[in-house]
């Protein structure tokens, strides 16, 4: 959440001060990039997605409400950019070229390759919720804000994504 001490920076950013906006967005760039990487599994694509998201956020920052949380707001924009990227037709051309290859016959390697392949095939909305919860370690309340749904619905989406990823993969505790 933007604290009172940041109120002046926030106002300057809303007024169009690029340096102020950069200061506000800097702490969320890292999780945004990690989210884009897990969603797209490609550094250049992730950079493009975060860049587009950052410029869109900058463009519409005038409408950012004081008191809102920056991280879920920005991650929702990044997630949308990643979804757009994966909808592109070129994405499918590239996916074929870098399909994971099976290496040694050891079972753990094979299992890992299977999991990687399953993640690659996972529809973006399932991958998004797993990335937010398991990779960025976001609390379910914040996951819900990124997804724009209730906490209960966010919990359900985590379970559903796990079920699609690998039937039988169970959570130890409730998210």
């Amino acid at each position: 959440m933007i604290g009172a001490s940041d109120a002046e920076t926030l106002q300057r950013a809303k007024d169009g001060d690029g340096r102020a906006f950069e200061r506000l967005i800097a702490p969320v760039l890292d999780p945004a990039f990690r989210l884009a990487m897990t969603m797209l599994n490609d550094r250049s694509a992730a950079e493009d997605a975060v860049q587009e998201a950052a410029l869109k956020a900058w463009r519409k920052f005038g409408g950012f409400r004081a008191g809102s949380e920056m991280r879920p707001w920005f991650l929702a924009i990044v997630a949308n950019e990643c979804r757009n990227t994966r909808r592109g037709r070129w994405w499918n051309v590239l996916r074929l070229a870098r399909a994971p290859e099976r290496g040694a016959a050891e079972s753990d390697v094979a299992a890992r390759v299977d999991l990687d392949a399953a993640l690659e095939r996972l529809p973006p909305h399932h991958l998004l919720v797993l990335s937010l919860y398991y990779h960025l370690d976001m609390p379910i309340s914040e996951v819900a804000k990124v997804l724009g749904c209730s906490e209960g619905a966010a919990r359900q989406r985590v379970h559903r994504a796990l079920a699609v990823l690998r039937p039988g993969l169970a959570l130890e505790g409730e998210p």
Partner: protein, 382 residues
């Protein structure tokens, strides 16, 4: 946390990474350059739709109460866009759109900067897009020129969920982008996302539309863009359309002689890549018939019989019999685009242009060798 959850975390970590200092620095420079312009397209499209409806009602009322036939209300007023303001370099462009209708080459950089070159991309002059127009990111062919003066822009609003609907309007210029006229179009439905506009001469043009749950639509005009008629694409024998993202999507349209060619592709359940096809029309686009299956939607037609699929050295392919057989092609073409795909267009059998991540390339030997050329408005000098 159970072992499987740990495995999942490890697998997600393995896909992850951190942004490079160069990337952070580039972003910082972009923010320092000032806030990018907001897109007014949805509002402009809504106003245009309202204006067209009002004009239509007005004409009908007029026709009913006055015994004289309504004048052919063709278009809105011609608007002259204010000249370019010196704003320096475009910050961090990562996308551009190309069109090369014979001699000149046109490019839109970073959604809202239009340029024209009449010397094969060596030098560029800034032209203007229609007022308050920003190219919609998901539109694959937002503009079409037939020479160095006459062109059309397809301006699209925000798409609804699953591309159920998207407003659009068509602009036309006759003076190389100095002034634009909003055409009062009829026949283009609000349904579906609009994907591209292509004109093959001053009267015949096409707008393609798609969504995940219904067949694609190819709108055709034969009066320069005012009235449009929807045409359908037949399904190729091995393509089974289904709702939920398994429908065809029309792509590029090219003309050679009296024959028109159209690319369309779509996803089939359980397959990792799209199936792509070329369709053919012998009646100026009034009807289309399936012609050939192609290895990728990103095939570029160099001539009527010679087509290229340019990906990267060692991966490119060529056909010299209109897609019946493909063989490896030793082109040095390469692209660093991870998204959007490279656009490749040929203005004749030798000269062609490609775009990937806003970097432009040119070939003058039919696609064998490529050289980087300047992306106008940017520091990228090739």
């Amino acid at each position: 946390m159970n072992p499987e959850e740990r495995e999942l975390r490890k697998a997600l970590d393995a896909r992850s990474g951190t942004p490079s200092p160069e990337f952070r620095s580039r972003l910082g420079r972009a923010f320092a350059a000032g806030r990018p312009p907001a897109s007014w397209m949805p509002a402009v499209a809504a106003v245009a739709v309202f204006a067209v409806c009002a004009a239509t009602i007005g004409v009908l009322v007029h026709a009913r109460y006055v015994a004289t036939p309504p004048r052919n209300a063709a278009s809105g007023a011609r608007l002259v866009t204010p000249g370019p303001t010196p704003t320096g370099l475009i910050p961090m462009p990562n996308v551009a759109w190309l069109d090369a209708p014979g001699g000149p080459v046109w490019v839109v950089v970073a959604y809202d900067h239009l340029y024209r070159s009449t010397d094969h991309g060596t030098t560029w002059d800034r032209r203007q897009l229609p007022p308050n127009t920003v190219v919609a990111p998901m539109v694959s062919a937002p503009f079409s020129f037939i020479d160095d003066m006459r062109g059309w822009v397809l301006a699209a609003g925000s798409p609804e969920t699953q591309c159920n609907a998207q407003s659009s309007m068509v602009w036309r210029t006759l003076d190389g982008g100095a002034g634009w006229t909003a055409l009062q179009t009829t026949g283009i439905a609000g349904a579906q996302c609009k994907d591209g506009i292509t004109f093959v001469d001053e009267t015949t043009g096409f707008v393609t539309a798609w969504d995940d749950n219904s067949p694609p639509t190819v709108y055709r005009t034969s009066d320069g863009g005012q009235s449009w008629t929807a045409t359908a694409l037949p399904n190729p024998p091995d393509f089974k359309p289904a709702q939920g993202g398994f429908e065809l999507r029309a792509g590029w349209i090219r003309q050679f002689g009296d024959t028109l060619y159209l690319e369309a592709s779509g996803h089939q359940e359980g397959e990792s890549t799209d199936r792509a096809y070329v369709f053919k029309s012998l009646d100026r686009g009034a009807s289309w018939s399936w012609m050939e299956k192609i290895p990728s939607p990103y095939v570029a037609m160099v001539t009527e019989s010679r087509w290229l699929l340019l990906i990267a050295p060692g991966q490119s392919q060529e056909t010299t019999n209109s897609g019946q057989q493909w063989h490896p092609y030793a082109s040095d073409f390469n692209t660093d685009t991870p998204v959007g795909g490279p656009q490749v267009v040929f203005s004749d059998s030798l000269v062609g242009y490609a775009e990937g991540r806003a970097a432009l390339q040119r070939t003058v030997d039919g696609g064998l060798h490529w050289e980087r050329i300047q992306t106008p408005g940017t520091a990228n000098s090739g």
